[in-house]
């Protein structure tokens, strides 16, 4: 089964972090990425630019409206994701628990929905 692991952290933490600390976390992420590629869990993944770079798009009455920023104010923001292939939820939880962001914030594990083309 495929799962999306959404990594939520307080992005001000990243902004205020000393450089050496930041480098350590980046190294941890690289090591984690290598690990799940080797174990066959890895499907995809990316880090995201901070929320102030975000644009929210809606279409109402056929017209596009754009606003700045994320949809809701929260303490932790979506900062990146991994798409993984896991045996089951327990396996996915084990993988998610090794994401460095799980220690700094939280990781939401969501199963991917499969559709048959109508």
């Amino acid at each position: 089964m495929k799962y999306l692991c959404l990594i939520y952290t307080d992005e001000t933490l990243r902004q205020n972090m000393p450089k050496t600390e930041m480098e350590k976390i980046v190294a941890e992420y690289f090591a984690f990425g290598d690990g799940i590629k080797k174990s066959g869990h890895y499907v995809g993944g990316n880090a995201l630019q901070p929320t102030h770079t975000a644009t929210t798009v809606r279409v109402r009455n056929g017209k596009i409206s754009t606003t700045d920023g994320p949809f809701a104010e929260t303490k932790e923001q979506l900062g990146g994701y991994y798409l993984i292939d896991a045996r089951d939820l327990n396996d996915a939880i084990q993988v998610a628990g090794r994401i460095p962001g799980a220690r700094l914030g939280s990781v939401e594990v969501r199963p991917i929905m499969e559709f048959e083309r109508p």
């Binding site: 045996r87 089951d88 939820l89 327990n90 396996d91 996915a92 199963p111 929905m113």
Partner: protein, 416 residues
């Protein structure tokens, strides 16, 4: 031709097999079919087939294996029929049909593993906590949705929806049907024990309302506890069963004939269930011998010391304070500290107990907890400080919300 009398006898035996085996058969069918709803349907079909066939063919040598394989065949049949309208089911039916001629794994050990799998799946931490208890009672204990709704004072449609959603999550999120591995086991077992203890406390708490139906819930929790002891005799599992048995042993003494709450010190100890106490104490001893004590074992050990005392005065309060000390190191909590303070008052006198209660209240943690103030009121009363005692009891009364507790506090205030 089968005589009416013989048929009647077989029907009675099918009922007995249902009571004894239906949960085991269901647990195995869920593993074989990989779907709760399909397994429940298959269980129903298997027993329907038993009622039809057993009167003429006789009861099979191994009814459980017969029911499992019949249920499995019926489910695959059903899927094949549905597959004519929904092509996506064909591959599922084929996959389940593979090796269907081989006897499914229904040896005793495999079956007991299935029951444990079912418990761990129903108590998975990815499920909402209110759904875990409901699902466990439904699938593991075989209670009907109506019975569970009544026990939890919930409307049946609400509870039914909770169960449907939980099953949906098990399917869609890929919650596996397995006993967790050694690394996850302690944390996952904790969740299971929490569910069992929650079910027990729902039945044991003397809250007003449908109090009559609730002992059933405690009995169900004790049954679950026994099953867990049989399947996974971890010290904490023994401890939880002991704790439930020792509390439940005092049930008859806990309320007076007019339904009022009776505190431990005032209980008529001849009403305590000695058989249950003996069983609880033996379990505590077995758990303590494992030399790996957890919070349930310690709480059970405290309950055992109370249960073995002939009178409140004869209680080994030093032992109880010592057990609370260990419990506090393992699982710090202000409520446990309050209980320890009450034991200190019995060991060293009300002055020492009051100092301990005041120290907890000074930290502000239990300021809104009625039992902290009623404990204070009681200690002040013993010290002869009547006005302060009245003030403390009034504060407790203002904070208490359960009717039997309020009536007890009013009675105490009246007696001052």
């Amino acid at each position: 031709m089968v005589s009416e009398e013989a048929a009647e006898r077989v029907r009675g035996m099918v009922d007995a097999v249902y009571r004894a085996e239906s949960r085991r058969v269901l647990a195995t069918l869920i593993r074989l079919l990989g779907d709760f709803d399909l397994a429940e349907e298959a269980l129903h079909e298997a027993f329907t087939a038993a009622v039809e066939r057993w009167p003429a063919a006789g009861i099979p040598a191994n009814p459980r294996a017969w029911l499992v394989s019949t249920g499995r065949f019926k489910a695959i049949d059903q899927l094949r029929r549905r597959a004519r309208f929904d092509a996506s089911l064909q591959s599922l039916a084929d996959r389940l049909g593979d090796g269907v001629t081989a006897a499914p794994d229904v040896d005793d050990e495999g079956v007991e593993d299935d029951r444990l799998r079912l418990i761990f799946t129903c108590c998975h931490p990815a499920l909402p906590s209110d759904a875990r208890a409901a699902l466990t009672l439904r699938e593991v204990c075989g209670l009907t949705t109506e019975e569970i709704a009544r026990a939890f004072l919930t409307a049946p449609p609400t509870l039914a929806q909770r169960i449907v959603r939980a099953k949906g999550k098990i399917r869609d999120a890929g919650i596996p049907y397995q006993v967790p591995g050694r690394t996850d086991l302690p944390e996952r077992l904790d969740t299971v024990l929490q569910v069992v203890y929650l079910v027990f406390n729902e039945g044991y708490s003397a809250s007003a309302g449908a109090a009559v139906t609730r002992p059933d819930l405690s009995a169900e929790a004790i049954r679950l506890g026994r099953l867990l002891v049989e399947l996974l005799p971890d010290p904490e599992v023994l401890g939880l069963l002991a704790l439930m048995l020792l509390h439940d042993a005092r049930r008859a003494a806990r309320t007076s004939s007019d339904g009022e709450l009776v505190l431990l010190d005032d209980q008529e100890r001849s009403l305590w269930d000695r058989g249950q106490i003996a069983e609880g104490v033996a379990l505590v001893e077995r758990a303590l011998a494992a030399r790996r004590v957890g919070p349930y074992v310690l709480q059970a050990a405290i309950a055992a010391v109370h249960a073995e005392a002939a009178t409140p005065a004869a209680t080994d309060w030093a032992e109880i304070v010592g057990l609370y000390d260990v419990l506090l190191r393992l699982a710090p909590s202000p409520v446990v500290e309050l209980n320890r303070a009450a034991a200190v008052a019995m060991r060293d006198g009300p002055e020492a107990g009051l100092a301990a209660v005041d120290a907890i209240l000074a930290r502000g943690e239990l300021g809104e907890y009625h039992l902290a103030h009623s404990a204070r009121g009681e200690l002040l009363r013993r010290l002869g400080r009547r006005d302060e005692s009245i003030a403390a009891y009034r504060r407790a009364l203002a904070l208490a919300s359960q009717e039997p507790e309020r009536r007890l506090l009013e009675k105490r205030l009246h007696g001052l």
